[in-house]
Structures are given as C-alpha cells and as structure tokens.
Amino acid sequence: MTLSWWAGTRLVAARAMAEGFAGKGWRIVTGLMLLGGIAAVVIPRLLGSGDTTYTLAVVGPAKPALVAQLAASARAGDFTVEYKALADEGAVARAVRDGKADAGLVGEGASARLYVPTLGVGVFPALVSGAVQANVTVDALIASGLTPTQISALQDLPAPKQVVLGPADDPRRAGVGFGVGLVLYLALILAGSGIATTVATEKSTRISEVLLAVLRPTQLLVGTVLGVGLLALIQISAAAIPVAVSLFASHSSALPSDAAPDVALGVVWFVLGLSVYAFVFAGLAALVDKITEVSSAILPANALLIGSYLIAVTVVVSSPNGWFSVAASMFPMSAPMVMPMRWASGGVPGWQLVVSMLLTAGAAVLLARLASVIYKRGVVRTGQRVSLRDVLRPT
C-alpha cells in the first residue's frame, strides 16, 4: 500500500509526460522542431550547396595518369572531377569559353596547353597544372632510372604540419560545438519554462497541497524535473535526429570524424545543465500565486541562461582560450553552454573539462537543496506572491 520514494517520483514524472504528450502545444512545438531538423538536411541539398564538381574538357578520352593525379586531389579537397571528351582543340576552347567546362587541357607533358576562362580564375586550373607537372616529373624520374616504388615513396613525403593561428583548430568540429551549444540552450529554455509552468499550475490550482499530503517535496520536485526534462529531450531529439541520421548515413565530410564524442559530451552537459537550472526554475515558480506571474518570477533564471548563451556565441567562439572564456566555462550557470563550445574548438586541457563538470555537478546538488527549501516553503504560501527573502528567512 505504501509507495516507495521512487514509485511516487515516477508517477509524478509519468503524469507530467502524459500531459505533455496529450497537449496540443507540445505536439506543435515538437512537430516544428522535427520540420526544422528535416529542413536543415533537405534545404542545403535543394540549394545545391553540397558537393563541388569541376568539369575538365579534353580531346578524346582523358589520360589515365592525369585522371589518377586529379582523383587524388579530389579526395583530399572534397570535390569531384568530370571529363568532357571533345573532338578537337577548337571544341575544347569553345566549351571553356561558353562555361560548359571549368578548364580545358590539350596535349600532354611539356607541350600541354591549359584553357581557362579568365586569368587566375581559381583553384581547379592550378590543380590541373599541378597534375600535368607531376606526371612530367614522374616520367623524368622513370627516365633517370628510379623504380616505381622509389617514385611512390617520393610522392608520399609528409606535408608540413599545419599550425592554425585562428580561433578553432577545426572549423567543422567547432561547428559541431556551436550546434551542441545551441541545442543545449534551446533544451534548457524549453525544459525550464515547462517546469516552471507545471509547478505554478500545481500551486495555483492547489494540486500541490493534495500531492504534498501524500508525497515528499523532493519526490514532487524531482518527478516534475524528470518528466518535463524528458519531454524537452524528446523535442530536441526531434530536431537533432534527422540531421544526425543524414550526416552519419552519408558519411558526409561535413561531420568530422571526432564529432561523436563531442555530441555525446553534449548529452552529459544537457543532464548537468538541466540539473543546475531545473531546480532553480522550479523554486522560483513556487513563489508565484497566479499562473500569469510565472514569466516575471523566472526572469532571473532566464536572464542567466540567455546571458550565458550570448557569452558563449560571442566571446567564447572568437577567443575560446581567453581568460574570460575559461572563467565562463568554469562558472556552473554558464558552463553547460560555454564548455561544449570551448571543448569542440580544441585546445582545452582535459583537467579544465573535469573541473568544470565537477563544479557544475556540485552546484547542482547545492541548488537542488536550496530550491527544495524554497519550493516546500513557497508552494504552501498562497494568496499573494511570496518574496525570496520571506521564504529563506529562518523559522
């Protein structure tokens, strides 16, 4: 007959989720998030901004040595090369002039001629030039008596290591960090307002009294945070899943190979961020008397959340290892949004990540305790809005 702590908490969470699933508002927002996710996948393809293809006009079939050289460049530079086999040099020149080919190549070796639309038009003619020169070099090396193995070893000489002086080691990985930060921000805003609305509804309708006569305040608080937090996670997943499926399924080079750990870390930060903010939202919402007062009551928490996000997208992105960014990534209220962005920008020492997580987790425990006190005292004070000072005054 007697409910365990967890059984009671689970009932509260399940009810919050059932109400969310049944609610029109939740379904509309989730639908919009799903559409947003699908749009993020489909629209760039429709606009054709995806793969780059260069066309090379040649007389007759392209020479295998040239095709092999350009294929290696295409793999490294993430583009495709198409060959337009034409009858004679005049046709090649016309194709380039009319814009039907990006460049035209006639002849081979030292006598080869490269047709380009204008001088210094871009990277592709330079790559074709390089390929022709490389083939001439290989021929010369063979003529001088080197074996194919020796030539191959020469071609595999390591390139100098690039030292990036800009803000991010890898702009694509930084892009993943930016995406994770944005998703976390949206998730926390959604979950925070959902939790605050649930708490204020329960208080203003006096349901909380009926519940507190049966449940302990921590059960009600944790159950609500769990239920509404999961609802927000589902909404965010609705937006993220189409993007993730598309990127992983196509093995797109838009997603760097080390994106998975960054995304996984984002999930950990969502849990930490929710733990820090959810209880604050719940505690503040327990101070209201009417449901209409919720937005003003949770203003301090929203301001912190929005402020942290703005810091993350402005200061942190441009200077991920500046002192201010480091401080913001250690401060528990901003860490859940700042640290994932800093981390994905590369160059963050592992100990900073660990310290930041520990500080955030510690703050979450303290804030949850404080919020429980505010919640328990605030939720039974009806008739007027309760001030924080009144609630925190020792009895």
């Binding site: 109400e19 309708t205 009294e209 006569a213």
Partner: protein, 302 residues
C-alpha cells in the same frame, strides 16, 4: 481519534496559529469553523503534514502521524485541486495510484466513484471543461478513491448551490456513519450548523469556542423565548434577570440568561393571559461566534 494539540505556527512575523487544539473522533462529523483568515487552512495543512508546525503535536490514535499513515487519508483542498488539462477518469486514477493502489484497482475504484457522484458519462472530459459543481464532485471522488479512513475537506461547501450542498452533506453523513474520521472547514457558519455534531471555532489563530453544537447552543446565555401574548407585561417583574429583546404589538422576545428556566417564564405568561404562540430560539453559530470572538478579543486586550 485525530488530534492536533497546542499547535502554533507563524509565517514570517505573522502568527497564524497560537496554541490551537483540534480533536476529531471517528463517527462524529466535526466542523472547523471561523471567518476567512482565522487559520483553518493552515491548521489543516499542518495536520496533513504539508507544512511542519513550529510547535505542537499531531497524533492519530495517540501516536505521532507517519507518512505511511497519511497515505491512507484523503484531502480535498479549498480550490478544486485538479489538473485542468487532465481527463476526469485519469485524474481519479492518478490520485488513487499516488495513494498506493495498483492501476487496475485505481481504475475500478475510479469507475465506481464517478458513477456514484454522477460523472460516469464524463470520464473522458478534461476537468476544466466541467462546471464548478462537477469539478467539486470530481475532486471529492479523487479524495475518496483509496477509501480513506481520515477525510479532511477545506471549505467543501464554498460556492455550491443548495442542491449540491445537500448532496455533499449526505455523502459526508454516510461516510461518517460508516466510521470514517471526518473534519471539514467552513466560514459559512449558519450553513453548516445543522450538519456538524462537533465544532472548533477559530478566530485570528486562536480557539474561541469548541464542543458539541447542541450543548454550545443550549448553554449559551443568548437564548430567546418568543411569545405571542396580549396585555400587560407586569408578570415579567418576577424575573429580574430576563430582559426584553423586542416588543412589537403582541410579539414579545425575551433574552434568557443561563440559569433561567424557559418553562417557568412560559408558565408565568400563561398565568397572566392567553399565549397564542411560543418558541425557544437558540442562537445561531454566527451569533455564538460573535459573542465568543468579542470575549476572546477583550481577554487578549486585557
């Protein structure tokens, strides 16, 4: 027996309860009465464990009340205490499960109770789409779903029409006759004076009156003897403590202090002339409250 003994509580600087006692026996419908702001709701919240008292004890059958014990109680708060967007049936099931019923048992009980309160055909309706009276009956069903042995109702009659008042009163009488321990609060003293057997009256956080309604009214010093009698009032000289409350044409109202036998006064009137009608009017609970609250505030002032 449910008891709250010498309960004191304050919110910030404001003293809400100042040494209040409440005793609720099983099988005796008990009213916790008093004007708005008297401290009734706070006392109920303390009894339910929603808040902890600054001082005092809450006992059930002589032992301190545990969380497990409270899970067997039912509570209906002043406002409806319902999830606005939740369906009526789901609402009752949810509260049943919170009180430890299995889903199947809670569903079975919810069906029975909604039928009993006349909401069997509103199972799938959201509670905010129901009328005020229906919401009140739904809340009653939610608070009774686990067949509680203690039932606490905060202002259950507020805002109800006379038919709904009679229906709720009948439900409470049935439950209390079955041995339940029931206490309800009300600020509408005269509305509930015929329903309560025992009352505790609060004013400004203090107990101003407590006992059985019949005894309190009968022993009050403000009983009035109503006589329709013609002629001279000289016979009243034999009762120096009796005062005339009103005397219009033949209708005479006499205030009888404690110790004066109303039958002796009636006999004297009949001896003086024909009495065509008579009756003894006991004070209403409102009148008793005003007298008791006045006495209490004088005592507090001194």
């Amino acid at each position: 027996m449910l008891e709250a003994l010498d309960v004191r509580h304050r919110f910030g600087e404001r003293v809400v309860l100042d040494g209040v006692d409440l005793r609720v026996a099983p099988g005796v419908l008990t009213g916790l009465l008093g004007p708005n702001g008297a401290g009734k709701t706070t006392l109920m919240r303390l009894v339910l464990g929603v808040i902890d008292p600054d001082y005092g004890r809450i006992l059930f059958d002589g032992a301190p009340v545990t969380g497990a014990e409270r899970q067997r109680w039912g509570y209906m708060p002043q406002e409806r205490g319902l999830y606005p967007a939740m369906k009526a049936g789901d609402q009752v099931i949810h509260f049943g499960r919170l009180h430890g019923l299995s889903k199947a048992e809670a569903t079975r009980r919810a069906r029975e109770l909604l039928d009993e309160v006349g909401l069997g055909d509103r199972w799938d309706d959201r509670s905010d789409r129901l009328s005020g009276g229906m919401q009140q009956r739904l809340q009653l069903a939610a608070s009774l779903v686990h067949d509680p042995r203690v039932i606490i109702l905060d202002e259950p009659f507020a805002g109800l029409d006379p038919v709904a008042v009679a229906e709720l009163a009948s439900t409470l009488k049935d439950r209390v006759a079955g041995g339940s321990t029931i206490v309800f609060s009300s600020h509408q003293l005269d509305l509930v004076q015929d329903l309560c057997e025992t009352i505790v009256m609060l004013d400004l956080g203090r107990t101003v009156l407590s006992g059985t309604v019949a005894e309190l009214r009968a022993s009050s010093g403000t009983r009035q003897l109503r006589l329709t009698v013609h002629g001279d009032r000289g016979w009243l000289g034999a009762f120096p403590d009796v005062t005339i409350a009103s005397d219009h044409s033949d209708e005479l109202r006499l205030a009888l202090p404690t110790g004066v036998d109303p039958l002796a006064v009636l006999d004297a009137a009949r001896a003086a002339g024909p009495v065509s009608d008579f009756g003894l009017d006991l004070p209403t609970l409102s009148e008793l409250f005003l007298v008791a609250a006045g006495r209490a505030s004088e005592a507090a002032a001194s």
